[in-house]
Amino acid sequence: MSLELVATILGGLTIGSALMVVISKHPVRSVLFLVLTFFLISSNYILMNAQFLAIVNIIVYAGAIMVLFLFVLMLLNLSKDNEPKSPFYIKIAAVTAGGVLLTVLIAALKDGITVGATSTVDGSSEGLVQNLGHLLFTKYVLPFEISSVLFIAAMVGAVLLAKREKQLID
């Protein structure tokens, strides 16, 4: 079926744009390629019939977090001239660390179960929002609640930091 072909092309595009994030010289271009990568990941989710996950990925990552990234980078207005030069040994260390991570990931995932490119497109309700919500609030309710507590902790932390800053200024 041509669905396999679509999945292959999408996968290739995803990896390509993920590579461009690293290769791009300009930080703003890197962020824009990262946004594109999130889009492509979302389209992979849609191929797997996980529409809710796909759209939430776009809203949260592409729509909110990446905008803040872009925000900071545009205000800093980084260019080649004022970029801090990193010493040679740091570059070596970064390459080694990245290579080790890649090796570990390949070692961990090479025996993973290969699921077909698409579970089933028609007829299946797997990954739809009703089923996802049902699972989250029954079987996985404890991890779900714990992660929401984690988010609240992060939010309280952010508010606290912002407040302290203001007191210092006063």
Binding site: V28, A62, A64, L70, V129
Partner: protein
Amino acid sequence: METSELIEKLVLIVVLFAVTLGIAAYATYFERKVAAWFQDRIGPDRAGPFGILQPLADGGKLFFKEDFVPEAAEKWLFILGPGIAMFTALMTGSVIPWSTNLTLFGQDIALQVADVNIGILFIMGFLSIGVYGIMIGGWASNNKYSLFSAVRASSQMISYELAMGICVIVVVMMTGSLGLREIVDAQHGMNWNVFYQPVAFVVFFICALAETNRAPFDLPECESELIGGYHTEYGSMKMGFYLFAEYVSLFISSAVISTLFFGGYNFPGMDNFEGNTLAILGVVAMFTKTFIFVFIFMWIRWTLPRFRFDQLMHLGWKSLIPISLINLLITGLVIAFNEGWFK
């Protein structure tokens, strides 16, 4: 997918595209006419009878202007910006149901391009991407004023998206579905959400004003402080795209407001009709509601003065979000009570 279905969807997409662009073009004309009316002037009246050819003249003028890219600009991003703005504005129309099914040539045709079961989230998603059009354009121009207004625009849009999302959650809780057709069908028989959720409607409406960068929230393009806003460096049809995208999102957000809170294609006494008559009357009802909101948007623009930026942020974070959160809590409690959780 069958060939007939493919053709049906293609025709629907082309029609929707043409109608959206046509309405956006004429919205510019009506904006000027409404402004003239409020300020006791005549408005555009030279091109054609009553000036109805004015949008065509404006479009033609923009096409024949010199299309240029500033020397210090990032060329590709500079071109990409208006494209993204237009694309995201047009995409949101695809999940809105315009009416009940129409029967043509023995085929049941749904007047909705894509009935996805995450319809409203799709709109919220594209809304949040719309920021990129402005941010990329503003940054790539390599102009301080453009960058300032791009930053203003994106912080405004992010801030108001939160309250807007909470209002959408309230509507979704009332319906129990994320699909827009289900949301509309649940409001059948004058059970419009605005009667049950007036607070959510008011908050959503204010947020829609901010999201479309319309007055009184038009700080990203306030000409008195920022020359022209994020499109200062733009000219020709690229600027036209930015201005046009704004009118497209004006139309689409009016359509979304009518869908979520005013029953979409539902109208009083719709049970007396059926088949194609019902479908056509549904389209008329939907567009009437939408145009009323377009007019209210314009009415507000030519009546209210602009907010200051700190006032805008205060309104968004310290008023609208708490109000919509309390509204969410009360709605949840009422739904739980109706389901008999407290017995």
